[in-house]
């Protein structure tokens, strides 16, 4: 079984022969698409109960009755008029790639709304199977679906499944095989026809479009409808006079129906899907409101919601702390017994000793300091996403984020940022508005991530006590809010929050564990090599006495301006590799084995910490940022960070100097 994850822009990496059939999973967010993908491919990718988890598409080779299929899980999209960056991935893929079969995954409990995407997908004219997912839950929601009737109306097979419990999967595979190999082009799909005032415009474009899109294997009808509805998605310049046709169509609809062409098409589709939905669903009496819905109301209504949220977050960090300490204590003793094995090298071959020591410190950093806290943090974050609680937090904190010029959708990246900035940067892809996405991405850079928290906790616990931990933490959040306010002042007004709140669901432990495993694996792939390599480079620099030169270069800034000991200059260089390296570096720079022996005053620790939190993103974040937003945005972020860190450090120097006579 092969498995591969693709970036948004990266080309197909599977070497496929022409005969391999491509099957695309398409559905609205939270329809259980990824769960179905996991079952079909038997490899687990991220699935979550929060809108927009599959931001890249995942693919896998699967075998159905001996035939190899190339299965692609496309990001969830509400319609084929994309809004979020992740939705663009789906629409672009369907417009530009050969797809032999679409499995449209539908949340049965939301059938009325979901059918709008289904009717739109049918316009593609590709062999099609509807998978009515979560069909075991419909009765709880008071509906019953007649899948045979739906199949008759749409002209495609409709299969009731439950991806979570693995029900109906065999029937689904039967239908897929049948549609691809037996029915093939003879499949009788019934795309909806529009009323005359729109349909005659489609017909007008259809004929010239037919010759144009034949080689692309896209249905000319789909192309024609999109040209009218959302001309930015297709290359309208390919057809002479098309621009004029669209313009005339727009003004005709505008004059006769007082609505835009886009809305007119959207509403027709809406009415058609409503009428299909009425034909195939029967309302059945609902038993009393289930407990989960009553509980959910308490999570969502602000008065009780904030109390629950506070409780959950206290619990969240408490559990991370307890579990982290426990795991750290497990790995501590085997790790600390290692140095005695290579201690003898120090006398005879000091260069080799430095190299080994660097390697060792890197491994201690990864396994002894970062991993113990990373593991419970990722696991609990996965649970928050799986249950759908993250969407509740987004709803509750929307007004708080408004103060920074953002809205509730930025909450998820912010919370993830407390774990690690790298996944948080990817999580910004669910923010549809470019402005909001850019501001969020700049701000999440300054969140005390687990690495920064390590530095803050290590140094304050050893040298200043918990009061200053609180001061620094409070200041950091305040500084982020102020920075957000300042940046958004220079930007246009925000669009506002529109977010689906999916029902609360019990987390599947299997999926939560797999999700944690994938994130940890990612951490080892991306971050651990940097950590170990950085640690070795650091040891070499020390061996060649290079840190002295770095300290001398940085002296004017570090000592004269900020009033810190010059030894701290070199720690900044290594903090760029990974933030938590600052702790070992500081200890090494002063040659102490215990942090409490560091010759630093309380003001110096505080100034150093506020500077180190903001000054520069770590190397992994920098790389991800560059890839995601381009170098201009990266430079801007770094510049804002340097300004913020210097201003903050000077502010604390001024205030603390007053109180401490320093």
């Amino acid at each position: 079984m092969q498995e591969l994850q693709l970036g948004v822009e990266s080309p197909k990496k599977f070497k496929l022969n022409q005969s391999t059939k491509v099957v695309a999973l398409v559905g609205q967010p939270n329809s259980g698409k990824s769960t179905l993908f996991n079952i079909l491919s038997d490899i687990k990718v991220s699935t979550a109960n929060f809108a927009g988890t599959t931001v890249e598409y995942k693919e896998s080779l699967i075998s159905i009755f001996g035939e190899t299929f190339h299965l692609i899980d496309l990001p969830g999209t509400y319609s084929l008029n994309p809004f979020e960056p992740a939705e663009h991935v789906t629409v672009k893929y369907l417009l530009n790639n050969k797809v032999d079969l679409i499995i449209n995954v539908v949340d049965s409990t939301l059938i009325t709304r979901s059918l709008e995407l289904t009717t739109e997908l049918l316009e593609l004219g590709i062999p099609f199977v509807v998978a009515l997912n979560m069909s075991d839950e419909t009765h709880k929601h008071g509906i019953d679906i007649n899948s045979e009737r739906l199949s008759e109306i749409l002209g495609v097979p409709v299969v009731k499944i439950s991806a979570l419990y693995g029900k109906g999967i065999h029937q689904l595979m039967d239908a897929c095989y049948e549609q691809t190999f037996v029915a093939g082009n003879k499949a009788k799909i019934n795309p909806i026809t529009f009323t005359y005032h729109i349909e005659h415009w489609i017909q007008k474009i259809l004929e010239p479009a037919e010759t144009l899109v034949k080689q692309n294997k896209i249905s000319p009808r789909f192309w024609a409808i999109k040209a009218l509805e959302n001309p930015s998605l297709v290359d309208i310049s390919l057809l002479n006079g098309l621009r004029d046709i669209i313009k005339t169509a727009e003004s005709e609809i505008e004059a006769n129906h007082r609505t835009s062409l886009f809305e007119a098409i959207e509403y027709e589709r809406h009415h058609q899907s409503m009428s299909i939905s009425h034909k195939v669903t029967i309302s059945i009496p609902r038993k009393s409101i289930p407990f989960s819905e009553k509980l959910d109301l308490m999570f969502l209504r602000p008065r009780t919601g904030y109390i629950f949220a506070l409780f959950f977050f206290a619990l969240y960090f408490f559990l991370v702390f307890v579990a982290g300490n426990f795991i750290a204590s497990l790995v501590d003793s085997p790790l600390s017994s290692v140095p005695k094995f290579y201690g003898s090298l120090k006398m005879h071959t000091p260069f080799l000793w430095h190299t080994v020591e660097g390697l060792y410190q890197g491994i201690v950093g990864a396994f002894g300091i970062v991993l113990p806290y990373f593991l419970p943090l990722l696991f609990l974050t996965a649970i928050l996403e799986e249950t759908g609680y993250m969407a509740r937090i987004a709803f509750l904190l929307d007004s708080v984020f408004h103060q920074m010029g953002l809205h509730g959708k930025s909450v998820a990246p912010f919370i993830m940022g407390f774990g690690c900035i790298v996944p948080a940067v990817y999580a910004t892809r669910i923010i549809e508005n470019r402005r909001d996405r850019l501001i969020t991405s700049i701000l999440i850079n300054f969140i005390p991530c687990s690495a920064r928290l390590t530095v803050i906790f290590a140094l304050t616990t050893a040298l200043t006590g918990p009061f200053w931990t609180g001061v620094i933490f409070g200041y950091v959040l305040f500084a982020i809010a102020i920075t957000g306010k300042i940046i958004s002042f220079f930007m246009p007004k925000p669009l506002g929050l529109i977010l689906e709140i999916p029902p609360l669901r019990l987390p599947s432990m299997k999926i939560t564990f797999k999700k944690t495993y994938f994130k940890v694996r990612e951490f080892f792939k991306v971050a651990v090599p940097f950590l170990i390599l950085g640690s070795v480079v650091l040891a070499w620099l020390e061996y060649f006495n290079f840190t002295y030169h770095i300290n001398q270069t940085m002296r004017p800034f570090i000592t004269s301006l900020l009033g810190l000991p010059e030894q701290l200059g070199s720690t900044l260089i290594f903090g760029f590799l990974r933030k938590e390296l600052v702790v070992f570096m500081t200890a090494q720079a002063f040659g102490v084995t215990n942090l409490s022996l560091l010759p630093l005053t309380i003001p110096q620790v505080v100034i150093f910490l506020v500077f180190i939190i903001f000054y520069f993103p770590c190397i992994s974040t920098t790389a991800v940022f560059w890839k995601e937003f381009g170098w201009k945005h990266l430079l801007l972020t770094i510049l804002i960070g340097l300004c913020l860190s210097t201003v903050s450090a000077l502010l604390f120097k001024f205030i603390l100097g007053y109180f401490f006579n320093f």
């Binding site: 809305e263 209504r301 007004s399 506002g496 689906e500």
Partner: protein
């Protein structure tokens, strides 16, 4: 029949959407999330600050959180 803005509707009030006067982007987003004119929705949570949570009774009770600014541009009428 009484016309008002969605942002003004109280908790548990059931209203019908009459018009969506927001910008094009927000309008498109609401449409794709299944909120259309003539839909009957229940206000689940509205606290005079922060976003409004609605339950779309016409669309299998799908719940959508709508920022206050947008909810101030959605006209509704009372149905109960």
């Amino acid at each position: 029949m009484f016309e008002m803005l969605l942002a003004e509707a109280n908790n548990e009030k059931i209203v019908k959407v009459i018009a969506i006067e927001s910008g094009k982007g927000a309008k498109q987003r609401l449409l794709s999330l299944g909120l259309h004119i003539n839909d009957v929705v229940e206000v689940v949570s509205n606290t005079r600050f922060g976003p409004i949570l609605i339950k779309n009774l016409s669309k299998n009770n799908a719940r959508i959180a709508i920022g206050r600014g947008i909810a101030e541009k959605i006209q509704v009428e009372s149905v109960n």
